[in-house]
Symmetry: C2
Subunit: 447 residues, 2 copies
């Protein structure tokens, strides 16, 4: 029995060997790791640290490691290999991983590599589909059965022809025209009476997906039914490939990360310790867009400069009205965005969501407004200031509720990812409304 290794420890061991110039020992240590761990360690080493290791690993070993990396890391390693070596490694990788790596390459290089690969026929079809669709993430299909085989014949067939099959999730049953007619789980193949026919144990109601289905939709479907794989078919129901549960886990993680980064207003490609130039490209444009909307809020405040000059205490409470509205709007927006992503909410629920969130906003506004109003009254010994801030708070909480519901749902309607742009619109609304409510009430009631 073994415990999973701690990656940080493995990384330290490798670096220790490298520092003492014991390259062979480092390579042997990496050979001894599970390929998934070796992939993580290689990906985390600096390019110049891993170069001597890459050079010493065989093409088989490298293929086994590289196919477990994500696309960015694959591409980084590929850039460190000579052209001929890369062809050898690609030939030894699982076709879907090879396709992922080739997808990261410039078109010319991709074409050259494909032309030189011995088994390009398995990889090329996978490159036809956009990377974030069922076709883009599917793997090649393994062995297929016929409905009139017996279980014993099927087992014999598999043992004879697919001895070295590395990945096996379900067995698909085809008719004579190569169309999918059923699916058999490994479990039912093992547990069935050897004399039974495949058609007796197969499930004829196979849930399939088209090649152009969005990868997130495929992932949610597989998760909903607790499947280990989903078959991808064309319009005539020919089996094109399968999407497997391990790829689905990667998709769900990737989509969650994408939403988290987009909600925080940065590129979904953000990554810790990426080159500085990349980090700026991932963040600065979002800050600039935010800046323009912040100027809208400033413009509102600017209208009231003469009011503020006469009652500077208003400036003191400006951050509170806008800040609380922004927080409440973010809460509403986030629950909308996540529920849309998880398929728990649909655009047709807009009115129900609006009624619900406006009620929550009103109650939050009454509670927070009362509290802030009292504090303001006591702190500045000014009851009317308390009234102004309380009313402004209630108004802004209602604006926050409306914006928090409407913005994500409208973005969804016009097919923009709600996670992408909701934050910016919602906080713009709460800033502009917050300052306007507060300062106009202030200039009316306090001067």
């Amino acid at each position: 029995m073994v415990d999973a290794i701690v990656l940080e420890d493995a990384l330290k061991v490798v670096r220790l060997f490298l520092e003492q110039e014991q390259i062979e020992e480092a390579v042997d240590y990496i050979r001894g790791l599970h390929p998934s761990d070796a992939a993580e360690v290689l990906a985390r080493l600096e390019p110049e640290e891993r170069l001597p290791i890459i050079r010493r690993l065989s093409s088989e070993e490298l293929a086994d490691i590289v196919e477990r990396m994500d696309e960015d890391d694959m591409a980084a390693i590929a850039r460190q290999m000579q052209h001929e070596r890369l062809v050898h490694v690609l030939e030894r990788m699982e076709p879907d991983a090879a396709a992922d790596l080739l997808g990261e390459m410039p078109d010319v290089e991709k074409a050259t590599l494909l032309a030189e690969m011995a088994d390009a026929g398995e990889v090329a079809p996978l490159l036809e589909y956009p990377p974030d669709t069922a076709g883009g993430i599917m793997n090649r299909v393994g062995p297929m059965l016929r409905r009139h085989m017996t279980v014993a014949e099927a087992l014999e067939f598999l043992r004879r022809h697919y001895k070295d099959e590395r990945e096996l999730y379900y067995l698909y049953v085809l008719d004579r025209h190569g169309r999918l007619v059923g699916v058999v789980s490994l479990r039912s193949l093992i547990l069935a009476d050897p004399h039974q026919k495949i058609e007796e144990i197969m499930n004829p109601e196979v849930i399939t997906v088209p090649a152009d289905m969005d990868q997130e939709e495929v992932a949610r479907l597989l998760a909903r039914y607790d499947f280990l794989a989903l078959p991808v078919v064309d319009e005539e129901n020919h089996l094109l490939g399968i999407v497997t549960v391990d790829d689905v886990i990667d998709v769900l993680e990737e989509e969650a990360t994408e939403d988290i980064y987009r909600l925080a207003q940065m590129s979904e490609h953000s990554e810790i310790f990426s080159p500085i130039r990349q980090a700026l490209a991932n963040r600065l444009p979002w800050l600039v867009v935010n800046l323009f909307t912040a100027f809208l809020a400033s413009a509102v405040v600017s209208l009231f400069e003469s009011t503020i000059a006469r009652a500077a205490v208003l400036a003191t409470f400006m951050p509170i009205v806008a800040g609380q509205g922004g927080n409440a709007g973010t809460q509403t927006m986030t629950i909308m965005v996540r529920s849309l992503a998880l398929g728990e909410l649909d655009v047709q629920d807009m009115w129900r969501a609006l009624r619900y969130e406006v009620l929550v906003g009103l109650l939050n506004g009454l509670a927070i407004g009362l509290l802030v109003g009292l504090v303001a009254w006591v702190w500045k010994a000014n009851p009317m200031l308390g009234v102004v801030i309380a009313l402004a708070m209630i108004g802004n909480m209602l604006a926050a509720a409306v914006a928090g519901v409407v913005v994500p749902l409208v973005l969804k309607m016009v097919r923009v990812d709600p996670a992408l742009a909701s934050s910016i619109f919602v906080t713009t609304v709460t800033d502009v409304c917050g300052f306007f409510f507060f300062l106009s009430l202030g200039s009316w009631l306090l001067l």
Copy 2:
């Protein structure tokens, strides 16, 4: 072949039947759905809508549906069943799902139900572990093999004794003391020569997890190695249960949702259309905590009221300095929180992260500061105002970078979920620093 149904459509069909009081038709329609879909539909119906349906489904049918729901939905349905009926349904559910449902019950009711259940012996041990650990999410183990069996014997043994086994991922091999010594995949059992011994085809290096390992750590481990299940063992390596890939997907989704909601400063239990009282409990306390930190920012502004009274233009630019700092701090903090969650970052990387983010912050600050300074100069025809705002912006971007790195990593060190409390500390720092830098520079250079 079938396409996956659209849940909204299924829900409409059921509601149409119910409105026309065709209860039997509604029940038959639900019986015809995949149990995962039936679970979704039942969960989305209002309690009074689903009551007649629950009454008409058999205990077997209900068990098959309820075990595919999440805990909250399970508990809601269970509350609509009479005690004896609930016992029958629990007896027919998979033990791990029954344990999840019992875990939602008050202690007294849980004990009564367990006492009345016929197969409590399978369920009770699963209730011993906290719900968010490996023990809490594990399933019971299926058939187990011995190392000296041949493949043919193993297949015969499985067919004879485990014909109706519903879930089978791997076969575990035990020694005579019941300790785990190896694992055989269904694939290798199918593809092996029938005369081979199990010990020849088993993998003796089984990666195991302890029952008290956090569920998120278990999930990441399974995902890292692309396993379909992970065995949970005690200290003597006795097999206690298995965590399966479908549960891991649920855990990863749940943890992502938790992080998204916590980053948006609301309870991780937030759910769309939960009862209003619940929604307020999930959101209002966070708004109140935020309010107290917002008063810190107000207090800073308050110090400068006399400055603002003489140069009210400062109030106009207050939202920009604080807002941009808040956005930049949120970007840094979010990348830290997500990288910590995905295991790509560790607390020992603090210095490297700090150097990196301070550099990004400085460059962002220079770019944004220059831009805002120019706009302020032109808009208000006041070059010194431009200088003040540019300097304040650079200072606040640096504060944002430091807070964005230090806050999540320190929370992680003291074992608080960084997603839980980072937002509030980071925006407090950027508000307080932003206002202080801007207003103190303003009172020095503009008056």
